[in-house]
């Protein structure tokens, strides 16, 4: 238990110390919020869909959580290259404890980052329909964080080269973001796109948050939570399995 805690704490400490990185990581979401949010706003309005900022704010929060969670897991490649991973692998503790500590640490960092972006969206003019549902939205944020931190652990345990990181960003993280419901509504999509959005776990995360914060969910919050929990269990198991196979 101590082992899980100390490795969790390591991730959180490192996040809180990397001020520059925190500021830099605000860039992406701010650009989406500013450029897309305000740029596409008028079109969205004319299409009779209401405020685009209201619509996409949960999507941008989801994006921040996705990126941070994936990034923290992929940081394992860094640890592998520069050694700290080995220090934990020769310690007399179960691999599972190491994996859980790292993954929960990454997920926590993603929640912190999501919270930061939430505040930013509020400053930009996003208004949740009710204060009461906000804590529930954090449950969704936490679920998204665990799902993708675990996925990143599985990937980070499998690929060895730093170059793999770029592959993951381009062929996994960006598609996960664009195929989720983060920036467009799920209604009336072409069939192929509709199918793809439905295999993307982030779709359910964003949909659930949207339901709680704006009262507009496509699948229903309960369904979204159920899907995320199921995927989360699957990914944590996959992450634990892959992590147990690491050879130094």
């Amino acid at each position: 238990m101590n082992v899980v805690f100390v490795l969790w704490l390591r991730e959180v400490k490192k996040y809180l110390r990397s001020r520059v990185q925190i500021v830099a990581s605000l860039g992406g979401p701010l650009m989406y919020l500013g450029v897309l949010g305000f740029g596409l706003g008028p079109v969205f309005q004319r299409a009779g869909e209401g405020s685009y900022l209201q619509f996409m704010a949960p999507g941008v929060i989801g994006m921040a959580v996705l990126f941070t969670a994936m990034f923290s897991g992929i940081a394992m490649l860094w640890d592998r290259q520069f050694g700290f991973l080995k220090e934990t692998l020769v310690a007399p503790v179960p691999r599972l404890a190491i994996m859980i500590g790292r993954t929960l640490g990454g997920a926590t960092v993603a929640v912190l980052q999501g919270t930061l972006i939430f505040v930013v969206t509020l400053i930009a003019g996003f208004r949740p329909v009710s204060v009461l549902t906000v804590p529930l939205a954090f449950l969704l944020i936490a679920l998204i964080a665990v799902v993708f931190a675990a996925l990143a652990t599985a990937i980070g345990s499998t690929i060895k080269e730093m170059q793999g990181f770029q592959m993951v960003m381009n062929f996994l993280v960006m598609p996960i973001f664009f195929l989720s419901a983060a920036i467009y509504p799920l209604e009336g999509l072409p069939r192929v796109l509709a199918a793809l959005t439905r295999v993307d776990p982030l779709t359910y995360g964003v949909d659930g948050m949207r339901g709680l914060l704006t009262g507009r969910a496509h699948f229903g919050v309960a369904f979204d939570v159920a899907v995320l929990v199921a995927v989360g269990v699957l990914f944590v198991a996959a992450g634990a399995w892959r992590f147990s196979k690491i050879e130094a």
Binding site: K13, F82, G83, F84, E87, L89, E247, A248
Partner: protein, 266 residues
Amino acid sequence: MSDRPILRVHHIVKSFGTVLAVNDVSFDVRPGEIFAFLGPNGAGKTTTIKMLTTLLRPTTGSLELDGLDVTMHPTEVRKRFGVVFQDPSLDGELTAWENMDIHGVLYHVARHARRARCEVLLRMFELYERRDDLVKTFSGGMKRRLEIARGLLHTPRVLFLDEPTLGLDPQSRNQMWTHVRNLRATEGVTVFLTTHYMDEADRVADRIAVIDHGRIVATGSSAELKQQTGTDSLEAAFLALTGTTIRDESATAADQMRQVARVWRR
């Protein structure tokens, strides 16, 4: 010194596909000894250390540490050794103290003992004043010292040092060996080290195993090796035993990258 060897390596073989990295290696290390594995890059030194530290399984053969079979009881064995790998394994974004503390938790050292031990070791390795600085601000020599201090935190029976002076300047090197020699007196720990610097093996080790192409070609004290080969320097003895001098120029691409990475991260 007691009779039972602290390390017993019995006919180990490790192959990667068709490549035989370690080819039928056997040796014993006595408690309290400083034992050096001397050989060129690619001789199988690191592979042997990885097997002894449970990171790799031997293809055949058996390894024992403090009477415990390494492959059968990895967790028990892990409690009994400390290791400093060839590549640094510190977290540069954490302070020296935090790196030590995490290690203590990973090795189940109780809180009080952990604090006391961290302090003793950081003082011993002259890092106590810098304990709250981020490790990424440390010099190469300081990082190595911190790694050794960390490896000793859980009072291991054996300390493995894989090329501990690689990439260090001569002063840091000297300082490193002074520390290592003092360990026997202060900690009573057995030291197993690898090096490809003959003068270092000559000066520091009680006994030396010369390894080349995955095989041990001779074992003994520096004096014994010289006597055995009828030479007057370890360098000449090495030449007589292996038919070559240490092939530094044949370092692999990975070794070179490692060197670059080290310089970079100073």
